[in-house]
């Protein structure tokens, strides 16, 4: 298009401004096309393949015997007790982790609110857990909590506070321990998001409230929390989505055990797909997880839009 326009005398077909507008459009489209094409080929195409696989009884160990299975793979997620438990574990893990991360993260954000040197340094240091390899996070806590030589686990076991084999080997405590690890890893990120929200609060309203004699707690309840709702929802959406697809830390800390006490959906999908090569089943689990995450994200996105409208005065 632009090539033809280049060879025509300007002003003959369209005014010069129009020609430039067309050229501009072509240029911008050309700049954006590669990434969209790339994501479609490397991301979306395999995902649609995954939907296809999930409808087949497809196992790599016997590649000749793939037969159409309809939604059997999906039905099995509900009927199979191991899959069902993975779904329940994932839900408990997500809910527990996000709840405590939000609670502690909000307290941290309030403590870090004032912009002084101590707080700036504290914020930088407190973000370290977020930057550590998730795999290593799992290994660190596995080491610390080990009942035989662990700095923490040894004493907990000696004092009879935990199972003699350690927290991560305890059927009843392992999932809660994984929630604790996730809280350690991601609370700083939640604090950072909420802190950004706090700093964006209109300071004139807070000052006016102080002049009118509002106490700290009143300001928090009447001004801060309602105006912070969009930031809180943002932290919620981000953490819920990430916690729901947790893999690395759980994989190394417990591997889904003891038994299936900490088996999550992602772990279950990897085991089915890349250890047992049951591609159909693994794809079904992965797709279900993707669907749940999409629904959660869409739900939160609607809530954020609603909260934004409210915060900006209807």
């Amino acid at each position: 298009m632009s090539a033809i326009a280049d060879h025509l005398p300007s002003g003959l077909i369209e005014p010069k401004g129009m020609a430039f507008a067309t050229k501009r459009k072509v240029f911008l489209v050309a700049m954006a096309v590669p990434v969209v094409a790339y994501v479609l080929v490397v991301g979306i195409w395999p995902l649609t393949q995954g939907i296809w696989y999930s409808l087949y009884d497809y196992n790599l160990i016997r590649p000749q015997r793939t037969k159409f299975a309809g939604i059997d793979n999906y039905i099995e997620i509900i009927t199979d007790p191991v899959s069902r438990q993975a779904l329940i574990n994932t839900a408990i893990f997500t809910f527990g982790a996000v709840f405590f991360e939000l609670l502690i993260g909000f307290a941290l954000a309030l403590a870090l609110w004032r912009d002084d040197r101590f707080n700036r340094l504290a914020l930088a240091l407190i973000l370290i857990p977020v930057t550590i390899t998730p795999l290593v996070v799992g290994l660190i806590f596995k080491g610390l909590l080990a009942a035989d030589y662990g700095m923490i686990g040894y004493f907990l076991a000696q004092w009879g506070l935990t199972d003699p084999r350690g927290l991560l080997a305890d059927q009843h405590a392992a999932l809660a321990t994984l929630i604790f690890i996730d809280v350690w890893e991601w609370t700083p990120l939640v604090a950072l998001i909420l802190l950004a929200g706090l700093k964006a609060l209109p300071s004139d309203i807070l000052e006016a409230a102080s002049v009118d004699g509002a106490t700290g707690l009143q300001k928090l309840r009447i001004i801060v929390i309602p105006l912070m709702l969009p930031a809180v929802l943002l932290a919620l959406i981000l953490r819920t989505v990430d916690a729901f697809r947790v893999f690395d830390t759980v994989y190394v800390a417990t591997g889904g055990g003891p038994g299936n006490a900490t088996n999550t959906l992602m772990l279950h999908a990897v085991k089915q797909g890349l250890e047992f090569f049951n591609i159909g089943r693994a794809s079904a689990i992965a797709n279900l997880t993707l669907l749940i995450i999409a629904l959660i994200a869409a739900g939160f996105a609607l809530m954020i839009r609603h909260a934004d409208r409210k915060a900006n005065g209807k």
């Binding site: 911008l28 370290i128 930057t131 390899t133 893999f247 890349l274």
Partner: protein, 272 residues
Amino acid sequence: MSASYWFQTGRRAFLLIMLVFFLAPFLWLATTAYKPSSAIFSIPPTFAFSPTLDQFRTIFRLFDVWSLLRSSVLIATGSVILSLALGVPAGYALARSKSRYAMGIAYFLMAIRMIPSVAALIPFYLMMRDIGLLGSWMSVVLINSMLNSAFVTWLMFSYFRGLPPELEEAALTDGCTQFGAFFKVALPAVMAGIVACVLFCLMFSWNDFLYPMFLTRLDSKPLSVALLSAYGTKDITWGTLGALAHFSTIPIVVVILFLNRYFVQGLTKGIH
């Protein structure tokens, strides 16, 4: 003493406790590298030890550390370059476009970030097997860049939108080419965003372990995968892990600590 004095003291005390809570496990990992195995496996666990470099000798004996480091560096630089080459121009185009589809495409790319790794892994694994890239570090770059370039586009979209277009318009009127206006005028103004993008891509691809675990072979596996085998048997465990972490985990932590300003700015921009 006034109430506000006690309030401030309480706030500092709370932050100090939180700092200890969030930093102690990391410091534990870093120090195990300098402990002799006897101190790591003493009963009861001890805090006192005489520092040694034995653990580092062990990892060089057990692992081909340079080969692991090479794979990690190849995967990380490959992902950073490909993701930025794809994402930065697209972020600019979407921010400057007046089309009503631009916003929709930006949101679509942001949503890519939420795909569970495993959902893409299985079909991607089969795809790589079919085209013969399975076992190569390049397959890891390809899939990492898919997630990263989408995120870079979204992040740069926010940065470019915050940049007034007048400067580029002036340059265009002066006869600058369209690419020149993007590359020479707009790009230098958003260097903070570029740094943030590099940090995120670097962190993601350096720390990633699910994809390389299944997509690479023995000779192309990166540090993150080797870490897992570092705690295999009892006599090597934690000290080896701590020593390996000096190559795998600690560099990233230090880089981000130093460039903290960009990291925080990028995080707050990218998630809004």
